[in-house]
């Protein structure tokens, strides 16, 4: 029996779920893009002139090296998310890159060339303040790490701690900066806000306090934002209120000298917070005595400290960004100034004199759909004639990195905003011009027979022309070597392919930048930066009109909601070209509680979007007369639900004809015991092909297919291992009826849920057994349908049968989604994003509560797999083979024109696109399909019938003569 079972299992597995990528298919239907996130620190690798590395430490806790020629990653290290992996400081010297990670928890040194870890040490606890390289006698040997209460010195070569000392009076003094001029001393600078500066000088050799003094500075509150050490240990600070510079010689420890800016002939923009930009090319030497002072939003001045005197070298107005760079012995200052509306120019100036260097102008063309430049990273190098050349990397507000070479050639751009995709949709591509022409013929009204005929002829002629052009192109391309034939996809030649496998991916990122990406190649076809996005915005993307309604352009609407105030704005755009639509969205003065996409369409085929504000008033978009009339007619059958998780309240509302609402049901889950963590409905574009399942005895078990069903997941507030639980409620969204209520005892979140067809799958952490478990709930109406023609929530008095089963899953998961196909015939798979970076395609048939414990003849007839408590991870189920997707946050699935094929996009730090075939490619002929054989057989059969027909005729004739 057991053997039989095993055999049966093997059979099922081999017949249903074998899918893997062959070696020659790698990269054919899938692509991956790797990102690093918004750059926080960046240094060029300067060991060699020819080095082509730029090192980046980002806000996504990623440390990476990019190739400056191509923009591709050399290597990348992805740390933990959240504050634990936060990169606090990045120091670079020679071959070593030293990072302080996790609020001063770890000190790591990386080898720059290959990205290997040199050493890592755990630092003592304490809030991290600052870090700096310390040099002695011209060489950099140590790293100083300043914490709230202590300073420690570590060897750069192996990370060993040389000494650690407590900083004096750490309760009152806020130590904020560490400085070393390469003379065997480490200066720790602290401030008592609005009182004085405290300076402690340590000896590099043994950590002994050599000097300690304080200087009155009642105007100072923060050192890093307003002070810098310049020249030979001159602490220079700016104060915006008195509009003066203050200097303090750290060696002489006299008073602070006040230098009013007016005495230097400098004027400050009123209300502007002054700041300094200084430069220390080598930590073993003293900083440059030249520095920039920012006087206004677009005004900088290059100053020089010369024997305690400040000299103005040059004023830059207008200037957006400034930066210093050093190569060899030369230090230059790069200044970016606006040229016109669409371009900026960057020039190099000699730092010592402020003179402009010849032939150093570089034009940076600003993307009209991008953000403003934010930071400038200059890589300077010496040319053969000893003049200075440079390249720059410009970081803009939309997290884009652009690398430019003289005189303005863009080497590469990286859209780092894509490392934080929030939501996405896939939109069908439009028809080609000729197809659209034919389609347009049907859309227009008839105006006479003759003109119709002429029109048909003309469109046929256009088709013929297109076909000839296509043939010509084929012929022309055939003569060229294959490598030269390019099939670049541009926005002009975008068109739907035969099976609708190529689509437009509209991605919304947290920074507020929208992207249109071609799903076949991964190329960015359009981008649009929305610059007034609140930092804590929630996004919801909806497709109001698809491409099916030619000549009306497709239309997407993005609802942007501020999470704190609830105020929302709408951005309406064309998803194919990314352009803002000419349709003006309504102004939304009230906070928005809920949005609802109705299947109703206006006369222009745009679906109606309902927005419910906090007064429970409903506004429609578009709100034409036609729409309002339809809404009035439909009002009594439009229901919606609201969830207030802070009060555990779920309530249902019905639309009234005057677009006000009335509350019709209410369910309140006391927040003292459990809190609502997620509410999941079904996807509106989901099709279910079969109404029921055929049982072993040929009877039918009908599925309970309630489109209004909501799966509500709650977590207990009591997190004790024995008492914690998660709750699953299935609620009808129209009537508020609780269809099923279950609790999973001794379980904890995070819970991942998928709700589709007649099933809900959820994953949780079992705190009793310390493992991840999957549970599946299926709902069935029974052996007969209550009303087979239409489903109405108002008329289903019987509660469905509920079946549930749970399984052990050997890994934790990051995200969960189900495949989706055009007609729902193909069997479903669950796509599971694992923290390891794999995307697992698990057949839904393994998560079936009807899996029998004991195999019977009937269960075998039904193809049910015998129950086994553990779900196994089979390596061939990973759809992304070795293409690891870091930090998967979401998986998006979309149907294609082929029933067997489902398009999948996994996004997180990386983006991965592929296709899956849950039931294999049953509707596609194989590549090695023998066309010759089938056609020859057909032909042979045809001739055979002809001949035999002839023979039969002759025979009949002969018989007739007999």
């Amino acid at each position: 029996m057991a053997k039989l079972n095993l055999l049966w299992l093997k059979c099922i597995i081999s017949f249903t779920a074998v899918q893997a990528v062959f070696e020659d298919q790698v990269g054919k239907f899938d692509w991956r893009q790797q990102y690093v996130g918004k750059v926080r620190f960046s240094h060029y690798d300067t060991q060699m002139q020819s080095s082509k590395k730029v090192l980046l430490a980002t806000e996504s806790n990623v440390f990476a090296a990019l190739n400056t020629r191509t923009g591709e990653l050399f290597w990348r290290h992805v740390d933990k998310t959240g504050p634990e992996g936060n990169i606090d400081a990045f120091l670079h010297h020679g071959q070593d890159a030293v990072l302080v990670v996790g609020n001063g928890r770890l000190l790591r040194s990386w080898e720059v060339n290959i990205g290997g870890l040199n050493w890592e040490i755990v630092l003592d606890s304490g809030r991290f303040q600052s870090a700096g390289l310390v040099g002695q006698q011209g060489t950099v040997k140590y790293v100083a790490v300043l914490k709230k209460t202590a300073i420690s010195l570590h060897y750069l070569s192996n990370g060993h701690q040389r000494w650690i000392e407590n900083v004096p009076e750490s309760e009152t003094v806020d130590y904020q900066a560490v400085y070393s001029g390469g003379n065997g001393e480490v200066y720790v600078l602290g401030v008592v806000p609005h009182s004085h500066i405290a300076v402690v000088v340590y000896s590099v050799d043994d950590g002994e306090i050599m000097k300690q003094f304080s200087v009155e500075a009642p105007w100072l509150s923060n050192i890093p934002t307003s002070c810098a050490v310049i020249g030979q240990g001159m602490l220079t600070c700016v104060d915006s209120t008195t509009m003066s510079l203050y200097t303090l010689d750290l060696h002489l420890q006299l008073q602070m000298t006040q230098i009013p800016l007016q005495s230097l002939g400098l004027e400050v923009d009123t209300g502007f917070h002054l700041s300094l930009v200084s430069h220390q090319p080598n930590p073993a030497h003293q900083p440059q005595s030249e520095f920039f002072l920012q006087l206004g939003a677009d005004r900088f001045v290059l100053l020089q400290l010369n024997n305690g005197q400040i000299v103005t070298l040059r004023e830059f107005k207008p200037a957006l960004l400034v930066s210093f760079a050093t190569t060899g012995e030369k230090t230059v200052a790069a200044v970016m100034s606006p040229k016109n509306k669409t371009a900026c120019s960057i020039n190099l100036y000699s730092a010592e004199t402020g003179r402009r260097l010849l032939d150093t102008t570089l034009i940076f063309a600003m993307d009209p759909n991008g953000g403003k430049p934010e930071r400038l990273y200059v890589q300077a190098f010496l040319k053969k004639d000893d003049s200075v050349g440079y390249r720059v990397m410009v970081q803009t507000e939309d997290h884009t990195l652009t690398f430019i070479q003289q005189p303005g050639r863009v080497m590469w751009t990286r859209e780092e905003a894509l490392s934080d995709v929030v939501t996405m949709e896939m939109v069908d591509l439009p028809l080609t011009g000729t197809q659209a022409e034919l389609e347009g013929e049907f859309g227009k009204k008839a105006d006479g027979l003759m003109s119709m005929v002429l029109k048909r002829l003309s469109s046929q002629l256009i088709l013929l022309q297109a076909w000839v052009a296509h043939l010509w192109k084929l012929f022309y391309d055939a003569r060229k070597p294959r490598s030269q034939v390019k099939n670049d996809i541009t926005i002009e030649n975008l068109s739907r392919d035969e099976f609708n496998l190529q689509k437009m991916m509209v991605m919304v990122t947290a920074s507020g930048k929208l992207f249109g990406i071609d799903s076949k190649t991964g190329g960015i076809l359009w981008k649009h930066y929305l610059d007034n996005i609140p930092s804590n915005a929630a996004f919801k993307l909806m497709v109001q009109r698809t491409t099916a309604h030619f000549p009306h352009p497709p239309q997407c609407t993005l609802l942007i909601k501020d999470k704190d105030t609830g105020l929302a704005t709408l951005h309406v755009f064309n998803p194919i070209f990314g352009k803002r639509s000419h349709v003006t969205p309504p102004a939304l003065p009230q906070p928005i509680l809920q949005s609802l996409m109705l299947p109703l369409m206006d006369q222009d085929y745009a679906k109606v979007l309902l927005l419910i504000d906090d007064q429970y008033k409903v506004s429609a978009f578009p709100s034409t007369k036609n729409v309002l009339q339809q809404l009035q007619e439909m009002a009594s059958s439009i229901f919606f639900h609201l969830v207030d998780s802070s009060q555990g309240r779920l309530s249902g509302y019905r639309l009234r004809t005057d677009l006000s609402t009335e509350q019709i049901w209410e369910v309140v889950i006391p927040t003292e015991i459990q809190k609502v963590v997620s509410v999941r409905g079904k996807r509106p574009n989901e099709h279910v092909h079969s109404q029921g399942r055929v049982m072993g005895d040929r009877s039918v078990l009908y599925k309970y297919l309630n489109p209004n069903l909501l799966a509500v997941v709650t977590e207990s507030t009591d997190l004790h291992q024995e008492r914690s639980f998660i709750g699953i409620l299935l609620i009808d969204g129209v009537t508020g009826r609780i269809i099923h209520e279950a609790v999973q005892r001794k379980a904890r979140g995070p819970v991942h849920v998928v709700h589709s067809e007649n099933w809900v799958v959820y994953e949780y952490w079992s705190s009793k057994s310390r493992r991840n478990e999957f549970s599946v709930i299926e709902l069935y109406e029974g052996m007969e349908l209550y009303n087979s023609t239409v489903f109405s929530s108002l008329d289903r008095p019987h509660v469905p049968q509920v079946l549930q089963q749970s399984y052990i899953f050997p890994s934790s998961i990051s995200t969960l989604e189900a495949t989706l196909t055009e007609k729902g015939i193909t069997s479903r798979h669950l796509l599971i994003g694992l923290p390891s970076g794999g995307i697992l395609s698990l057949p839904k048939m393994f998560l079936d509560p009807r899996r029998p414990e004991i195999v019977t003849e009937q269960s075998r007839e039904e193809n049910l797999i015998p129950y086994a408590p553990e779900l196994i991870i089979r390596t061939e189920w990973f759809i992304n083979y070795n293409q690891t997707v870091s930090r998967v946050r979401g998986i998006y699935t979309a149907p294609s024109g082929l029933e067997s094929t489902c398009l999948v996009v996994a996004y997180g730090l990386d983006i991965y696109q592929t296709r899956v075939y849950p039931s294999k490619q049953f509707d596609v002929l194989k590549d090695d399909y023998d066309y010759m054989l089938i056609s020859s057989v057909l032909l042979a059969l045809f001739f055979a019938t002809m001949i035999s027909k002839r023979l039969a005729e002759v025979k009949l004739l002969n018989r007739a003569w007999r």
């Binding site: 015991i673 709750g727 099923h740 609790v743 108002l794 008329d795 008095p797």
Partner: protein, 251 residues
């Protein structure tokens, strides 16, 4: 359907399901104006309803749910009859496709734990008024509680549930409620059944062990029928061969 052998799990779940429900069939013999105070020492929860032509809810007492205190938890429902006035109003509401709403306050469904917290507010549910009329006031009210026995939701359905537009002539049909009340607590979702699986595995391996002596039989003892069959077949085919070629007929 739960009788089918393939439906073991269904049966188990369904049984669980029914175990969790306490059915209470209600007495409906009260007249309007009868006192609704609880006769027992238990706790009484008012059940209110509202049906208005203009759909602005005005709740009136429909009956009371009585919880019995003590060890044995129990529920009973006492309900008023619909007055003449209410009957006509309900019919009017049904004619304009209005709603029939009910509500209960948020309470603990255990009489002895009432003092723990007292929450403000009500739980509401609705059914179409026409369904109420056409079902002759036969409805099913379910009270849902959370793990601690606190009331979180109420639902009402009528049997039959459809509105077919049939006229209800007899006024008497709309007088008394024919209510089935049930209280549902959350069921415990099953975890992975490792123990049961291991048990079955063990049983099967025992079975296989039991079969072993049979398998150790000799080749001839096991397949004698096949060999015999083969031999007979050979013999028959040999004897059938000689008269070949003679039987062909012309067409």
């Amino acid at each position: 359907m739960a009788r089918l052998p393939t439906f073991k799990i269904a049966a188990v779940v369904t049984v669980l399901f029914f175990l969790c429900e306490n059915f209470v069939y209600c007495n409906n013999g009260r007249r309007v104006g009868d006192a609704l105070e609880t006769e027992l020492s238990g706790f009484s929860v008012p059940l209110e309803h509202s049906f208005e032509v203009d759909d602005v809810a005005q709740f009136q007492v429909r009956g009371a749910l009585v919880l019995k205190a003590g060890r044995e938890q129990g529920f009973s429902l006492t309900q008023n009859q619909l007055s003449e006035e209410d009957r006509t109003k309900l019919k009017e509401v049904a004619a304009v496709d209005g709603l029939y709403r009910i509500r209960v306050p948020r309470v603990f469904l255990q009489a002895d734990r009432q003092a723990e917290w007292h929450m403000e507010g009500y739980l509401t549910a609705f059914v179409r008024a026409c369904a109420m009329v056409e079902s002759h006031l036969s409805d099913v009210i379910t009270l849902h509680t959370d793990v601690s026995g606190y009331l979180i939701g109420v639902s009402i359905v009528t049997l039959p549930g459809a509105c077919r537009g049939t006229e209800v002539e007899d006024e008497v049909d709309l007088e008394v409620f024919n209510t089935t009340l049930s209280v549902m607590a959350p069921v415990n979702a099953p975890g992975p059944e490792t123990a049961r699986f291991l048990e079955i595995m063990e049983q099967e391996s025992d079975k296989v062990k039991g079969k072993n002596p049979q398998e150790q039989k000799s080749f001839f003892a096991k397949y004698w029928y096949l060999i015999l069959g083969g031999a007979i077949f050979l013999m028959v085919s040999n004897s059938a061969q000689p008269p070949a070629g003679g039987g062909r007929e012309q067409s």
